[in-house]
Amino acid sequence: MQSNVKASPSRWAQFKDSHFWHSFKKDKIAIVSFTIFALILSASLLAPVLAPFDPYDLTQVDIMDAEIPPNWQENGDERFVFGTDSQGRDMWSTILYGTRISLMIGVCAVLLQAFLGIVIGLIAGYFGGKVDNFLMRLADIQLSFSTLMVAIIVLAVFQAAFGAELYQELALFMLIMVIGIAEWPQYARTVRATVLAERKKEYVDAARVIGLRSNRIMFRHILPNTLSPVLVISTVQIANAIISEASLSFLGLGMPPSKPSLGSLISSGFEFIFSGSWWITIIPGIVLICLVLVVNLLGDWMRDVLNPKLYKG
């Protein structure tokens, strides 16, 4: 027994020495994606500082400024870098605020999905038998309705029942709830599959022999060992949630025009795209595509790192 006593390194030093960090440094796509994602994220978080106008403040909006093209074009106005939309709002400011809303819906909806899915998946996988059967059939039923269909029905019924006024106030909350609840089976299935594999390992038996309660075994022992697949699907799900929100907004069931997300911006510009005002649709569209693309690329990279057994195509 040699005594090579080593002080335990700090968290940061551990991270810098990890496989995760090394493979990140080697992967150019991951670095570029992460940089772009970080830029978009910080720009949207700093929107009140970066944006020259407040698109929610009606006193700063002048209808006479409507549909001004980006400033590098003819008739451009140097106040509005990316031009203005049909109501005269500065596109640059509106995109910053819209990205913020899109990201917030994406992240919050995924948090809700993850919470529901992890709890249900853990319970189904750990207890098995009838509980498992019941919960997984529930997941199958939920999956047999497409997210968009559920969202359209719920949001349309809500709008019809409680009026557009209330809907505009609660749109953000409703979108998070609908997208969050509609997609939990993705998590539940992944977590359940991992739990089924982990449950058979002897450390779980050891915890049972100690006499620990099921809750503690599930959340303290099994859950930490199921987190890497959860992390991977989370990135894909964030991208999906952002797209779902954009689709719903495009269909007029998402964020109201007074508080536009990227999707509702695209939708509001769609009416003008053939009259020449392409920037109202195209610019938020590019931002949306970039955002979803980098999140997906990061997710792909993360899947390869955390799951080295997968062959890269």
Partner: protein, 335 residues
């Protein structure tokens, strides 16, 4: 001498039929439900005496690990009873079981799976004490962990490390430390050394024997390695296809095996100087535990089987201080 653990007429079967749709089968012109079970343990009765190391031996699939798991309450028996110090424990709720959890601990076979990969060694070792003695002061807790780590030969300063930083032998030492840390009286060891290197096996075995001496432990030791039994066991129970063949002291077993299966098993130990003059070759294979043979489970392969063996299940009977379940031994046909 009173028995610490009594296993009384234990049965365990595992269903292998699917859900109710899979069970429906069509035969002889009508539908009926077909249920199939693997009969892992069939009427095992065993007493573990205080202070002994009772080894359970047998080939793979004979149900020895299932016995260990049922005794520890990881599986519930299909029939029979488990008693600890005379109290029945196999049907207790997890709350009522708590006092026994401190007294009974288990060491597992695979040191690579039996430690939680996301917990440091210190967390793994502190958890059982925190759970069973929540009032213990942090200082005492740390002393206790350090003391147990030292006693199993693991440097206490390694506590911050994760299991993957250790070798198999060191991990098994840590597993043993986790079992010892709640000061148990009775330890079930399910093939604790079979996944280890031969050179490490002896070290870990000696560690287990030292712990037995210092702490007055009782072992139920599951193994398939007869040389381990010779070295470690005070008494031996030989299992075949979920039933006990012979229960006796280790010395008697190696000197004079009584049951035909035990004789065949012992003759199969490879020896260096041996030309295998009296090697007993058994015919056939172990029957499937799904459809157990009638009568004695060994009758299909036993050179001494007769009609009675095919009809009647033999029970353990005391013969010259050895418990043997064999009609031939009972009738004196073997001599």
């Amino acid at each position: 001498m009173t028995a610490l653990v009594n296993i009384k007429n234990l049965y365990k079967k595992f269903p292998i039929h699917g859900d109710w749709l899979d069970q429906i089968s069509f035969a002889n012109g009508r539908f009926h439900m077909k249920r199939e079970y693997v009969h892992a343990i069939n009427g095992v009765s065993l007493d573990v005496q205080k202070g002994e190391a009772l080894c359970v031996v047998g080939e793979s699939g004979c149900g020895k690990s299932t016995v260990a798991r049922v005794v520890m309450g990881l599986l519930s028996p299909s029939g029979g009873e488990i008693c600890y110090e005379g109290q029945r424990i196999d049907h207790l709720s997890s709350n009522a079981m708590m006092p026994y959890r401190r007294k009974m601990q288990m060491i597992f076979q695979n040191p690579y799976a039996s430690l939680n990969p996301r917990m440091t060694i210190k967390q793994t070792l502190e958890e059982p004490i925190r759970w069973h003695q929540p009032k213990l002061a942090t200082g005492e807790l740390k002393d206790k962990v350090a003391e147990v780590m030292k006693s199993v030969g693991v440097d206490p300063s390694w506590g911050e490390r994760f299991p993957h930083e250790f070798s198999g032998g060191q991990r098994q030492r840590i597993s043993i430390a986790r079992a010892l840390i709640v000061d148990p009286e009775f330890i079930v060891a399910d093939e604790p050394i079979s996944a280890l290197d031969v050179s490490i096996q002896a070290q870990v075995l000696n560690l287990l024997m030292d712990a037995q001496e210092q702490r007055g432990l009782t072992y139920l030791f599951i193994t398939h390695d007869l040389s381990v039994v010779e070295h470690f066991g005070t008494r031996v129970a030989v299992m075949y296809l979920g039933s006990l063949c012979e229960v006796t002291t280790a010395r008697k077993l190696f000197a004079a095996p009584r049951h035909p299966y035990t004789q065949a098993l012992l003759s199969a130990i490879p020896r260096l100087e041996d030309e295998k003059p009296d090697f007993i070759r058994l015919k056939g294979e172990v029957p499937t535990p799904v459809n157990l043979p009638s009568g004695c489970v060994f009758h299909g392969r036993c050179p001494h089987a007769n009609d009675r063996c095919k009809r009647e299940v033999p029970v353990l009977r005391e013969v010259d201080g050895t418990q043997v379940a064999c009609h031939a031994v009972e009738e004196g046909r073997l001599d």
